[in-house]
Each structure stands twice: as structure tokens, then as C-alpha cells.
């Protein structure tokens, strides 16, 4: 039992890393990673919300009627986001400024809703909390890594300390939107290459299976003959922990 909980916890960090393997939460990943410290801040804020909402949703899993579960989840998540928002505003105003509108947007961060839908609503409290913690750490680690790469290349600093700024001219483009897309693309390529070497399925497309709107999306996708194979693939990557 203990080892099972351990594997639920460690799942989110590497094997099912929410950003690189499940392709969730791409918006904040691209938007706030202009500096490593912002990546850490965003990651920690999202982790707190994720753990708390997983806890509450897991406790309420037998009381929430199936038909209204998505609005119910969103309400729980929005409540915790408001709490975190007020805490960040009060104690770290500089982080509040850096994250801006992306702080309230944690509500619609797919990771949180997806974990509520896929995991917390079907599992007891302890595994749900561990799952939230693991996913949160995976999210934070990826954001921090991306923030470090972009900050180092774009500003020549790391967590605000000068590293290469005096020897190599910083490439500001990495701090601008194109740099975000580019660095993320390269990270996904590296993660795919590693998965392939280990014989695991490669992430081809956004992880439909882990998206809370999966059922609606699947119909949309099949109707338009678009990406059915990718969806199946995503299921292989993301949907095996139920």
C-alpha cells in the first residue's frame, strides 16, 4: 500500500509529467516563464490549489451528482484560487505583478480540472492528495526549468543573479513570446526523444484523454475526422492511472 502511494506521488513528477507528458497547462507554461522565479511562483501557487482541490473533491466524491460535477469542481477550484490570489497579493506583491492575469487563470488550468476529473473524483483522500502533490511538483519543476533556460538565454541571469550577461550578449528574443514557443518546442522534443529511447509512446498531440472536456472533444474530433489516432495515443500516455 505504501509503495502504491509512493508511485502515485512520483508518477506526476517524471513519468506523467503534466506539462511534458500529458500536455496540460500549456498557457501558463508559456506565459509566465520569462524568469525562473516566476516559474517557481506559478508552480507553487498551482500546486497549493491542486492539492487543496484534490483533497476537497475527493472528500465530496460521493456527494457530487455526476451531471453537475464539472461546475461543482470549478466552484471548488475557483474558491481555492481566490484564496491563493489574496495570499499572493498580500505577501508577495511582486509575484502578483509578474503573474498578472495568469493568477486568476489557474481556475481554468487544465491540470487542476483534469486531476479532479480523472483522479480525485474516483480515489480516496490520501492518494488524491499525493497525486496532487506529485503533479504539482512536476508542474513546478518544468516551469522552473523553462524559466531558467529562458532567463539564462534571454537576460543572462539565473534567479536574478548575473551569470553570462557580461560575457555573452543576452538574446532578448527568448524573453518574448516566440522564445516561449521555441523553448517549449525543444523541451517537448527532448522529452519525446527520452521517452522513445525507453520505448514509451511519444506525445503526438495535446492529451485529449486527460482533458476534462474529453468526451465533448472526442466527438468534435471524430466529427471532423481530425485527430482520432492522436487521441488514442494520448489515452495511452495519460489515461492509464484510473
Amino acid at each position: 500500500m505504501k509503495s502504491k502511494n509512493m508511485s502515485i506521488f512520483s508518477n506526476g513528477i517524471i513519468k506523467e509529467n503534466p506539462v511534458l507528458r500529458l500536455m496540460l497547462g500549456t498557457c501558463p507554461t508559456l506565459a509566465v516563464t520569462t524568469a525562473a522565479i516566476n516559474g517557481v511562483g506559478m508552480g507553487v501557487a498551482a500546486t497549493i490549489v491542486l492539492v487543496c482541490s484534490n483533497l476537497v473533491i475527493s472528500l465530496l466524491r460521493n456527494f457530487i451528482p455526476d451531471k453537475v460535477r464539472i461546475p461543482a469542481f470549478i466552484t471548488v477550484i475557483a474558491g481555492f484560487v481566490s484564496v491563493v490570489q489574496m495570499l499572493v497579493k498580500a505577501f508577495t506583491p511582486s509575484l502578483d505583478e509578474a503573474l498578472g492575469v495568469f493568477l486568476p487563470l489557474i481556475v481554468v488550468n487544465c491540470i487542476i480540472l483534469a486531476r479532479a476529473e480523472m483522479f480525485a473524483s474516483k480515489n480516496p483522500v490520501l492518494p488524491s492528495v499525493l497525486d496532487g502533490l506529485g503533479m504539482g511538483i512536476g508542474f513546478t519543476a518544468t516551469l522552473t526549468l523553462m524559466g531558467m533556460i529562458r532567463e539564462l538565454l534571454g537576460a543572462g541571469t539565473l534567479f536574478g543573479f548575473t551569470v553570462t550577461a557580461n560575457t555573452i550578449d543576452p538574446m532578448i528574443i527568448f524573453l518574448l513570446p516566440p522564445g516561449g514557443f521555441f523553448v517549449f518546442g525543444v523541451l517537448v522534443a527532448v522529452s519525446n526523444a527520452i521517452s522513445k529511447r525507453q520505448g514509451k509512446p511519444v506525445v503526438e498531440h495535446l492529451g485529449c484523454a486527460s482533458c476534462p472536456m474529453h468526451s465533448a472533444c472526442k466527438n468534435a474530433v471524430l466529427d471532423s475526422n481530425e485527430i482520432p489516432t492522436d487521441c488514442q495515443n494520448a489515452e495511452k500516455v495519460g489515461g492509464n492511472n484510473e
Binding site: A31, P71, S82, F181, H205, C217
Partner: protein, 194 residues
């Protein structure tokens, strides 16, 4: 600044310089997920634009007359619930009364509740302190900007299908790198409209 110039400035900023997808990074999921074909990209963007404008029309008065100044901390909770309700409502109304539009857009509507572009634009309108009319124009501009980015990118992706891509970049990585180049081209607009 008179109102005509501010309207033009908001339109230009929303569509080009502050493009929802390519410079504000909102709505990346549909941008990468539903941009494989031009016609699906178009339908999705129209649905997003519609929801953005209607959501702004609903959330702005709620914030200004009900929540401000004592209950502003409820903004996030109220906005997301209002958006979720509006999306449901639009779906029901379209299904009942305007069948052809429902057939074209209906499948995308459930996806829009959790699209951060919608919650994003309603929050930005409040944060920027825009009036009701300008908020609606800002939402419309953001929607058109989303549409433009989606259609341009759908065009780029249709070319990518036939391109000879290195093995390790196949799939999502090359899509993201293509998005980087499209975003780069949008940097050229910086400075227009202030």
C-alpha cells in the same frame, strides 16, 4: 484621446500587437488542438469570439454594479460560473432556435468554458478599467485576433504536413516551433496602436 482613436487603438492592439494567442498566451490548447484544418479553426474561433463578447456583456455589469467595491474578491469565482452558465445557455438557445449555427459551432462550445482566453479577457477588461462599450470592443478585438492567429496557423500547419521534418521534431515539437515563427512575425506589429 477621443473615443474614435481609442476604439481604433483597442482594435489594433487586440488583433495585432496584443494578440490573444501569440503574445498573451491564452487559448493555447485550441490553438494547438483544433488548428489542423482551416474550416474547423474558423468555426472554433467564431464560437470563441461569440462567447467572449457575450461573457463580457454579462460579467462587466455584474462586477461594476454587484461586486464592486465590497465583494471584488469573489470576482474569479463569479466570473467562471457566469461563463459556464453562459456557454450552457448559448448551447441550448442555438440548439433550439438556430440549428445550422448549432451544427457548425455546437461541438466546440463545451470546450470553451475552460478556455482561458474567455476568463482572461473578462478579467483583463476589469483590470484595465475599461468602460462597458470599450470592454465589448476589446472582447471583439481579442476574438478577431484569436481568429486571425488560428487561421494563419492552420495554413502553416497544412504546409507542415508535407514538409520533411527531422525525426526528433515530428509532431508537437515542430508545431510549437512553427508557432514560434508565427509569433515572431507578429512582433513586427509592435508599436502600432501604442
Amino acid at each position: 484621446m477621443n473615443s474614435t482613436t481609442s476604439i481604433v487603438a483597442i482594435l489594433l492592439a487586440g488583433i495585432l500587437t496584443n494578440n490573444m494567442v501569440l503574445s498573451r498566451f491564452m487559448g493555447i490548447c485550441p490553438f494547438l488542438g483544433v488548428s489542423k484544418k482551416v474550416n474547423t479553426a474558423f468555426s472554433m474561433s467564431i464560437a470563441v469570439t461569440l462567447v467572449m463578447v457575450i461573457a463580457t456583456a454579462a460579467t462587466w455589469p455584474i462586477y461594476t454594479y454587484l461586486l464592486y467595491p465590497n465583494y471584488t474578491y469573489l470576482q474569479t469565482v463569479v466570473f467562471i460560473l457566469v461563463i459556464a452558465a453562459i456557454v450552457q445557455l448559448i448551447e441550448i438557445v442555438l440548439k433550439k432556435y438556430i440549428k445550422p449555427i448549432y451544427n457548425a459551432l455546437g461541438i466546440y462550445l463545451p470546450l470553451i468554458t475552460t478556455n482561458c482566453a474567455v476568463l482572461g479577457i473578462t478579467t483583463i477588461n476589469i483590470d484595465d478599467g475599461l468602460g462597458f462599450g470599450l470592454s465589448l470592443i476589446n472582447a471583439l478585438a481579442a476574438g478577431i485576433g484569436f481568429l486571425l492567429a488560428m487561421i494563419l496557423f492552420a495554413g502553416v500547419r497544412s504546409k507542415l504536413d508535407t514538409a520533411d521534418v527531422p525525426e526528433f521534431l515530428k509532431g508537437l515539437p515542430i508545431t510549437l516551433i512553427a508557432a514560434a515563427i508565427v509569433a515572431l512575425s507578429f512582433l513586427g506589429f509592435a508599436g502600432i496602436g501604442g
